[in-house]
């Protein structure tokens, strides 16, 4: 059997060019299929890891997925705010352990600014109950202090003490800058692999301070109030975008959720982040499945390419098989020579595809983080991926069965008479 594999190898080497093309096409299809699968699971992991610890997310009345996206993942925008009074009232509900307010709407060079309270740094957790860590510095304390996510600091090259100016709105190029009230970086968080890394954290009062004298999203002419004047005003926030709730016991979750959804003063929505994520997956699942199906078809096309090259070479190889038979090869040998070639080509294609996949993942990892906030773990294969690889290999063997069987029949019937 080793001899036959060696023969198969030499025969393939003799047809280097077509074999290489076949291997490349199978490799590309394998990389595509595994890549789609990898992005799918990794993006799910990344999303799932983004929030843990909070039982409910509350925002102005909207769809649960939209609320989840803008409050936790910083994707999209809130349609409405929550009044400070409602926030305070709900915080005082029975069963509530802690709340974290979130106020969004400003940015700095494309990174979103989030107003919150100091307890955010104690309570917020991601992945499996991991708390935020400071790489350097401390939480904000003063009105004009900011804490940077690790990616912000790294990408922009900011360190402690750096003075930054926030912009109104969330675009990369902002129209209006809050340049009269610069902030000082006092802390930088350790990497989390979540949107926290792309966020600039300031206090709720800071958000209020930079917008003082503004009306309808633009500064009022002649109403500019200097940074020091604001400091003396002892500002209180008037509204926030959303907030996270942790309950004393998860048993109360549905009760509190209902109470918030039926809140009289203001139309609000409370969601369970896990449930909303599930809804999101269902929504995305259709597109994902379509993508997987297309990738699977591409693999099938790649294997058909191999089948075609094996089949077209078959007639000219009848002579080769008769020679092998004359020196004592069994029909089974001849059969396994073809199967061996199919297996070698498929396996090489898979190997090439895997190398390609990891190369691309290594290249894509920083891009996905900076452009989509998507953290991709470069890990070993999951059992599902191994299953996919196994199926592709078996499909390769099955593709080899067709020409293998044909040549087997030939070798039984041709005998020593070779048709040319």
């Amino acid at each position: 059997m080793r001899n036959i594999l060696l023969l198969a190898l030499k025969s393939l080497r003799n047809r280097k060019f077509t074999v290489c093309l076949t291997i490349i096409s199978i490799g590309l299809s394998v990389a595509l299929l595994l890549g789609v699968e990898r992005i799918r699971t990794e993006s799910r992991n990344s999303f799932t890891n983004t929030i843990s610890g909070a039982d409910l997310v509350v925002g102005a009345r909207s769809g649960p997925i939209q609320l989840l996206l803008y409050s936790v993942f910083r994707i999209g925008y809130a349609t409405n705010n929550i009044s400070w009074e409602s926030y305070q009232e709900i915080s005082a509900f029975q069963d509530v352990s802690w709340v974290i307010p979130i106020s969004l709407g400003d940015s700095h060079r494309g990174y979103r600014v989030m107003g919150t309270e100091r307890n955010y740094f104690n309570h917020f957790s991601y992945s499996s109950e991991q708390k935020l860590q400071f790489a350097t510095g401390v939480p904000f304390n003063d009105l004009y202090e900011a804490v940077l996510g690790s990616e912000v600091a790294r990408k922009l090259g900011y360190g402690l003490g750096k003075s930054i100016v926030l912009s109104h709105g969330a675009g990369e190029i902002s129209l209006i800058e809050h340049d009269d009230k610069p902030f000082t970086v006092v802390g930088i968080l350790s990497p989390t692999g979540t949107p926290v890394d792309q966020t600039i954290h300031v206090s709720l009062e800071s958000i209020e301070a930079i917008h003082i004298g503004w009306q309808g999203g633009v500064p009022q002419a002649g109403a500019r109030i200097s940074a020091d004047q604001v400091r003396r005003l002892k500002l209180k926030p008037t509204s926030i975008t959303a907030f996270l709730i942790k309950l004393d016991s998860p048993i109360a979750t549905f009760k509190v959720q209902r109470a918030i959804n039926e809140y009289r003063e203001e139309p609000l929505t409370a969601i369970l982040p896990g449930v909303a994520l599930q809804q999101l997956w269902q929504l995305i699942g259709i597109a994902e499945n379509a993508l997987m199906a297309v990738s699977a078809f591409v693999v099938v096309v790649g294997l058909f390419g191999m089948l075609t090259t094996l089949m077209t070479s078959l007639n000219e190889r009848r002579r080769e098989m008769a020679i092998l038979r004359s020196v004592g090869a069994r029909p089974a040998h001849v059969f396994s020579l073809i199967i061996g070639e199919a297996v070698l080509v498929t396996a090489s294609g898979i190997a090439f595809g895997i190398i390609l996949l990891y190369g691309l993942l290594l290249m894509a990892q920083p891009l996905l983080i900076s452009h989509f906030g998507l953290h991709i773990n470069i890990s070993f294969f999951s059992s599902y991926e191994l299953l996919l690889i196994g199926i592709i290999l078996i499909a390769g063997v099955v593709a080899g069965l067709v020409p293998g069987w044909k040549i087997y029949r030939y070798s039984l019937n041709d005998g020593m008479t070779i048709k040319t």
Binding site: N3, K10, E320, H333
Partner: protein, 257 residues
Amino acid sequence: MQDQTALKSTNSLSSNIGTEPVIDLTGLCFSYSEKASPILEIDRFQVHSGEMLFIMGPSGSGKSTLLSIITGILLPQQGEVKILGQSFSQLSGPARDRFRADNIGYIFQMFNLIPYLSVVENVILPCQFSSSRKKRTGNHSSSIRHEALRLLTHLNLQDPGLLSQPVVELSVGQQQRVAAARALIGHPKLVIADEPTSSLDTEHRESFLRLLFDECLKSGATLIFVSHDTTLASLFSRVIELKKINMAPGASGGGKT
């Protein structure tokens, strides 16, 4: 033509007395499918050890078919095929394949070589499928290679430049000599050649045959040579016309050339 007599004398019948025939066919009947009329019907056909046998017959008369039966690739519907005392009807397919690998060297009409193997790799191919032929060449890859080179040298293929060439670039005559070396390696008891000279010119035909005879004599192999080219017949110790032993009415070979 002097060696013609020399060959005949080495092949005296006295050396065969008491030994079993190399090939012994009795009551043989073969057709490619059940519906088709038989191509071969042979009552009795024997070849003795050390013979240099020439089987003559026009194209389509069933020469290659007969060789397929002798090598155990095809099984007759009726009759007994006994090669070197071994009855094929008692052997399974793989056992016949092993028997062929161990005992028979085969040369085709044309295109004898596997295109993706080197000259030497082509020659030592039978040793990959037969441990006894491997053993007879010394069992070591170095000694097998040595034996291949020795055979090639005998067949006037010693030029190292030639040996490193891709086999498809060799001339037809050179390819046939490589094929002869492959048929002879590991001293098979039976060497079968199916019109190996039909693509060579007269001069090369004779020199090729002479080399083949020489090597078969040296290793004590029995040679069966099949051709429609009657001019070669005089070189052999025995000549048989296929139609003389084949009683099948269908296989006249008529109409084909």
